[in-house]
């Protein structure tokens, strides 16, 4: 839960980073596309039932870090994108506490047979 709140903050930072760091071109677009997506998915992952969307942030964070290495930009831009990307991916690996019980979660919907007694999210 706390991990995903930090991810939201990282997404908001990415949205502000082009203006703060003076990023232009592809570096700017990368931050402005990744930022809102990471922040929004982080918010959705705060809810236990939709905790599973954190996996999308693992992928997004890794992609952003890769872009941060490959896309030419001033060094603060490299640092920002790589650090925010790696942190997003690492923090999104944490499932966090799930206190509620959800009747087997989404698996109970798609599973053909009686769903295993596993909880929501994942």
């Amino acid at each position: 839960m706390a991990a995903h709140a930090v991810v939201v903050a990282l997404g908001l930072w990415l949205m502000a980073s082009p203006a703060v760091l003076g990023l232009t071109g592809a570096a700017r677009v990368a931050a402005l596309v990744a930022g809102p997506l990471i922040a929004a998915l982080g918010v959705i992952a705060l809810s236990e039932v939709t905790r599973g969307v954190r996996w999308a942030n693992v992928v997004l964070g890794a992609a952003l870090a890769l872009a941060g290495i490959l896309v030419a930009q001033p060094w603060p831009g490299h640092v920002s994108a790589v650090a925010a990307g790696l942190l997003t991916a690492a923090l999104s690996l944490a499932r966090g506490r799930v206190t509620g019980r959800y009747g087997g979660g989404w698996r109970a919907v798609v599973g053909g047979e009686e769903a295993p007694p596993r909880e929501a999210g994942g």
Binding site: L32, L37, A40, S47, R101, Y102, G103, V109, E114
Partner: protein
């Protein structure tokens, strides 16, 4: 089922709470109404009812965004579409009693479908603002935040209804009848 604690009254099987209870739904309806207020105000501005728009942070950003080519892609301004989305959220969030995850699955599914894509479109518009138009719009961002905040809390009820329909199907019942609320 395994030996799990019994669910509270009204809760779906295996749940620790009832996602259709009013304490779960009223906050979402309230937030949707706030979103409706914001989007409605922006739509009135786009229609020219107001000559200027509230923008405390980003200079002429709101004006540029709200009169951009994207905002005029559809016959009605994009904020008006957002306002309609919030109306659908609020109405589909309000219809039905505290057992509607089972008694009115189609309403719950309409609610889930209204909340999910509305949030997705909001995120898309938040990306387009700075990338395509080099501008930000405070109230558009506020509306997007509201749309995104609603997604997670709304999905539990959708999950309960989908689980119910899956259960009906597994037991050989009519999913269609259950979907319409005949279960």
């Amino acid at each position: 089922m395994t030996a799990e604690p019994a669910e509270p009254a009204g809760a779906p099987p295996g749940w620790s709470y009832n996602p259709s209870s009013w304490p779960q739904r009223l906050p979402l309806i309230g937030v949707a109404l706030v979103g409706l207020g914001i989007a409605g105000y922006l739509a009135l501005y786009q229609w020219g009812v107001f000559g200027s728009v509230f923008e405390p942070f980003f200079g002429d950003g709101s004006r540029r965004i709200l009169h951009s080519s994207v905002s005029r892609l559809l016959p009605i301004p994009d904020a008006a579409l957002g306002a309609l989305g919030y109306v659908l959220d609020a109405v589909s969030g309000a219809v039905g009693g505290e057992r509607r995850w089972r008694t009115l699955p189609w309403v719950v599914i309409v609610f889930g479908v209204a909340v999910g894509p509305l949030g997705a479109v909001s995120i898309l518009l938040v990306i387009l603002q700075p990338v395509a138009f080099h501008a930000w719009c405070t109230l558009c961002l506020a509306s997007a935040v509201i749309s995104v905040l609603m997604i997670g809390p709304a999905m539990d009820e959708l999950l309960a209804s989908l689980q119910y329909l899956a259960r009906v199907r597994r037991e050989g019942g009519s999913t269609w009848r259950a979907f319409r609320g005949g279960g």
